[in-house]
Symmetry: C2
Subunit: 536 residues, 2 copies
C-alpha cells in the first residue's frame, strides 16, 4: 500500500514526488513511468563534437530568469546555467524559395517601415489583450467566448496587414507549439502568452525571455537528480499505467502486469496520454471531453556539431528564421555551442514541416538541413562532425512536443476540469501550469502544486499556511461559463445590411435591369426550393 | 486463428462482418465489443406508453430515402420505415427568455424579410460551397486551407448579418453535432454537409432529408438482426480491445483477458476510442495526431410518452426549436408517436446545454423538460406517462453522440490517415464514411467498404470488379496538402494600409496635434521596448 502513486517520471512527476517527500518524508510514494528513462520531454544525449563527446539536449533546453520554479530547482540541485549566445547577425528568410534571405540585428526583423508599423501595432494589441487575461480562470477574460471561438489564424487574418508579419507569426507559432496558427484557439494562445508574462518573453533571448539560459550538462539532469533524491527504487520505468480504479477505501493504479494500491494519485502525463488510461468510475464528462481535444504539437529537433563555430567568425549569431515555403525543412536554428566550447547548432522542424519530413528518412532530413545551413551560413556548414535528431512524435509516451494545445471552443467548455481533482486523482503536467505553462518551469510548478493538493488531503498538518493557499487556489471557484447565445451580435448591424441592400438593389435595378431580373428570379427559385412558405 | 477480427459491434462493425461473410462464408471472423450489447450509438428501449409498453430509440432514429446504404439494409433485414410526423405548426423561440415564442409552418422559420434575405443568401453561399467540396479528398477543395483554418463560428460571424439567423444556425449545429459552432472546422462542416447532399437535407424532414423516416420497432434491430446473421457466437460482448500488435505473420488483438490472433483487423469504434488502443508497431504520426483532435459531440436524448397526442389536436407538429439562452434545456423536440399509436415526443439536450445539464439530476432534467414542453405546447404536457433519457457521454464505449467532429486545421494536416489502412488494420465507423458521414447510413457504408478492403487483401477472388473499385478508391492517391505559407495573402492589401495610414495620420496631425504627439510618443516607447533597432 502506497500513500501516493505518481504517473509519469517527467519533470512534473518527479518534482511532485520530491515535494511530497520534502514536506513529509514518512509518506510512501512511487513514480510509474512508461518510458525506459526519466525526464519526459527532456532528454540529454552525448554526441561526438569538436572537443570530444559532449552533452546536448534533444528536448526542452532553455530556461529564463523569470521562470522561478525551474530556476530555484536548478539552484537546489547544484546545477548551473549559462546565457544563450546571441551576438551577431541573424538570418531571416521569408516568402518564396527564390526570395532573398536578409540579415539583421536586434529583436525582431522587418523589411520596411510598413512591416514595422504592422508588427508594432499587432504586438501592442496582443500585449494589451494579455493584460486582460486570467490564466487561472480564462473564462473570466473579457470577450473570452469571442476569442475562444476563433483560431489564432483567424485573428491574424483580421489584424495583420502585411504578408511578412503573417509569415513571421506563422514561424513563431510553429516553433512555440509545433502547431499551425489554424489549429490553436486564439484564447488559448493568449492564456499561454500571459502565463509567460506576455508574447515578447516567448520569442526573445533577452533577460526574462524563454530562450535566455541553457543548463550546463543538459536539462535531463534535473530529472535524474530528482530521481536520485526520491530514491531510484521508488521510480519504476517501463511501467505504463493502463487503469486507475477508485474504490471507497483505496485507489488501484494498474499497469499491464502490476497493481499499486494507494491513497492518492497524481497524473502528470500529457492530456492525450492521460485520456488513454481507463478510469473507474469514469471521469466527469467535462474532463473526458477536454482531453479529447488537446492535441500535442509536432517537433523534430536536431543538433549539428561542427569543428569550428564558423558562423560566429563570420559575424552570425547562428539564429536563422525561415518561412516554410522556402524549401528549407527547419523553421529556426540557434547557436548551441556547449559550455565546454564544442561548436554546434540546434534547430527545429516544426508543425506542418514536421508532418512532411517525419515520413522521410533520417538521411534525407540531415542532407536537407545541412544544405539549408550552407545556404544561410556559408559553405563551411557542409563540414560537420555529427548530426543528431529526435522526432518527438515517434516517442510513444510523449507522442509529440513541446506541449498539448487547446483547439477552439475547449476553454469555454471544459477548462475548469484541467486542474480540478477527480476524487483522489490530482492533475499535474506543464499543460496545467499557470506560470510558464508548456515550459519546464510550468512542469515543476504544476508538480509542486499537485503535491500540495495531495498533502492537504493526506497530511494537512505538514503544510504551511501559504502551502494551503497554493493547494486551495487551484480548487477555488471558477467563473461560470457565459453562453454563446448571449454573446454580442455580429459587428455588422442589421441596419447597415438593410441600407446597403436597398441602395445596391436600387442602383442595380436602374443600371442593369436585365441582370437584376435574372438575379431576382434565381433568388426566388432558391427561396421556393428551401420551402419559404412561412406563415408567422 | 481468425481471418478477420472486427473491433466494435455497432452498425459499422456488424455491417462489415456481414459483408465479409456474404462475400466469402468460409472466412472465420469475430466481432469484439466493449459494451454488453450490440448497436453502438443505436439503442432501442421498451418504455411505458399509452397503448402498453412500446419501443423507442434512445440513439440514432431517423433514416432518409437518399441514405441508400441503410435503406437497403433495412429492406434486406425485413424491417419497415414510416414517415416522421410533420403536420401542423412548429414552435420557434429565439432570443432571451422573455422574448416571444412564435409558431410557423414550412421548412425554415424567419421573423422578418430581412432574416429571410439573410437566410436565403447564407444557405445559398453554403450550398454553392458544398458543390465545390470533395468529400473523398477534402484537401482538393478550392480554398481548403482557408476554410479549415476557421471555425464554423467565424464563418457565421463573417457571413451572417442578423442575430436571429446566427441563433438558428447555433441550434442546428448543436443538434447536428452535439457541438457549438466554435468547436468545428468550417471545412469539416462543409464536408459533412456535402456527404449528405448539401446543408438542407441535414436539417429537414422532407423527402431525402435526414429526418424523413423512422424504423418500426427501433433501429437497434438492425444490429440485432445482423448479429443473428453473423452468428451470436461470433460476437463477443464485454470485450474491449486494449492492444493490437502487428507481427510479420499474424496480428494479435488483445482484450484485458484474451488474445485473438488473426490475419486482418477492422477498427470501427469512434476515433477517440480507437486512440485509446495501444498499437504495436506505433501507428503513423499522422494517424495518431488525427485522433487526438476528433472529439465526440455531447447529446442527452429524451423520450416523453403521453396518454394523448394533445399537440396534434391543438394543431402543433410537435417540433419545437429553442435557443439556448431561453432557460429551456433542450434545443429541439419532434413528434415521436409510435407506429402502434402511442403518443410521444422526442428531444435533445445538446452541446453547451448538455454540458450544463449532465451534472444535474435526472429529476432536475425531467422537471425542466416537462416545464418547457408545457410552456411551448400547453399545460397538457404536464400529464405524461413516462420520461426516459440517455446521456451518451456517460456510456463508456461511446463517450458521446452523435458523431466525432474535426477541429480546425485537422483536415489540412491529417485527413488522408482517416481511411488509410495501417498495415493490416482497416478503418471503418461512420466518421470514415463518404456518404452520410455521421449517420447510420455512413456507418453501414464504411463497414461495407472496409470489408471489401479486407477481402481484397485476404480473398481477392471473392470480389466483383465493382467491389475492387470501391475497395481501391479509398486507398487511391489523395491531393498533396497545400502549405499555409503559400496560401493567399490577407485580403487587405498593404497598399490599402499605407494609403489609410498616411491619410489618417495627416488628418489627425492637422486636426488634433496634441493627441497625435501623445500617440506617436507611446508608439515610439513601445517600439523601443520591443527592441526595434533593426539594421537591414
Amino acid at each position: 500500500m502506497w500513500d501516493v502513486v505518481i504517473v509519469g517520471a517527467g519533470l512534473s512527476g518527479l518534482a511532485a514526488a520530491n515535494h511530497v517527500l520534502r514536506k513529509d518524508a514518512q509518506l510512501k510514494i512511487i513514480v510509474l513511468e512508461g518510458k525506459d528513462r526519466v525526464g519526459g520531454r527532456t532528454v540529454s544525449l552525448k554526441i561526438p563534437a569538436a572537443r570530444g563527446d559532449d552533452v546536448w539536449d534533444l528536448g526542452g533546453q532553455w530556461v529564463g530568469s523569470t521562470q522561478t520554479h525551474v530556476m530555484d530547482l536548478i539552484r537546489e540541485l547544484g546545477l548551473e546555467v549559462y546565457p544563450q549566445y546571441t551576438e551577431g547577425k541573424k538570418v531571416h528568410h521569408m516568402g518564396a524559395p527564390e526570395s532573398k534571405a536578409r540579415t539583421y540585428t536586434g529583436s525582431l526583423p522587418f523589411s520596411s517601415p510598413l512591416v514595422l508599423l504592422d508588427t508594432t501595432l499587432f504586438l501592442w494589441k496582443i500585449e494589451k489583450l494579455c493584460k486582460t487575461v486570467s490564466v487561472e480562470d480564462p473564462i473570466s477574460t473579457p470577450n473570452a467566448l469571442q476569442y475562444d471561438s476563433m483560431t489564432l489564424h483567424t485573428y491574424m487574418e483580421q489584424h495583420i496587414w502585411t504578408k511578412e508579419l503573417q509569415q513571421n507569426m506563422g514561424v513563431c507559432c510553429r516553433t512555440l507549439f509545433g502547431m499551425e496558427p489554424a489549429q490553436l484557439s486564439f484564447l488559448y494562445f493568449l492564456v499561454f502568452a500571459t502565463a509567460a508574462g506576455g508574447v515578447l518573453p516567448l520569442l526573445g533571448t533577452e533577460s526574462g525571455s524563454a530562450q535566455e539560459f541553457r543548463v550546463k550538462g543538459g536539462t535531463q539532469q534535473l530529472s535524474e537528480k530528482l530521481a536520485d533524491q526520491i530514491g531510484r527504487e521508488n521510480v519504476l520505468l517501463g511501467s505504463a499505467v493502463t487503469a486507475i480504479e477508485q474504490h471507497s477505501d483505496v485507489v488501484q493504479v494498474r499497469t499491464a502486469t502490476q497493481s499499486f494500491p494507494c491513497r492518492a494519485v497524481i497524473v502528470t502525463c500529457p492530456p492525450h496520454l492521460a485520456a488513454k488510461i481507463r478510469y473507474s468510475p469514469a471521469l466527469p464528462t467535462e474532463r473526458d471531453l477536454l482531453t479529447q481535444c488537446m492535441p500535442v504539437g509536432h517537433l523534430i529537433k536536431f543538433i549539428v556539431t561542427y569543428p569550428t563555430a564558423f558562423w560566429r567568425e563570420k559575424g552570425f549569431s547562428g539564429e536563422v528564421v525561415v518561412q516554410n515555403s522556402t524549401g528549407c525543412p527547419f523553421s529556426v536554428t540557434f547557436d548551441a555551442t556547449s559550455p565546454g566550447g564544442s561548436p554546434a547548432l540546434v534547430g527545429f522542424i516544426a508543425a506542418e514541416q514536421a508532418s512532411d519530413w517525419t515520413v522521410r528518412t533520417k538521411d534525407d532530413r540531415r542532407n536537407s538541413v545541412i544544405h539549408s545551413l550552407q545556404k544561410y551560413l556559408g559553405p563551411e556548414a557542409s563540414v560537420f562532425i555529427h548530426y543528431e535528431e529526435k522526432d518527438w512524435a515517434r516517442e510513444e509516451f510523449s507522442g509529440g512536443c513541446p506541449v498539448n494545445i487547446m483547439a477552439p471552443g475547449m476553454i469555454s467548455f471544459y477548462h475548469p476540469s484541467l486542474r480540478k481533482p477527480c476524487g483522489r486523482i490530482f492533475w499535474a503536467g506543464t499543460e496545467t501550469a499557470t506560470l510558464w505553462c508548456g515550459y519546464m518551469s510550468g512542469a515543476v510548478q504544476s508538480g509542486q502544486r499537485a503535491a500540495l493538493q495531495v498533502l492537504r488531503h493526506l497530511a494537512p498538518e505538514s503544510l504551511s499556511p501559504s502551502d494551503h493557499e497554493v493547494a486551495g487556489a487551484s480548487q477555488s471557484h471558477l467563473t461560470q461559463r457565459k453562453t454563446w447565445a448571449t454573446s454580442p451580435a455580429p459587428y455588422r448591424s442589421t441596419t447597415l445590411l438593410a441600407i446597403t441592400t436597398v441602395t445596391l438593389g436600387a442602383a442595380l435595378l436602374l443600371a442593369r435591369p436585365q441582370l437584376s431580373r435574372h438575379l431576382i428570379g434565381r433568388a426566388l427559385v432558391f427561396a421556393q426550393e428551401v420551402g419559404f412558405n412561412n406563415k408567422p
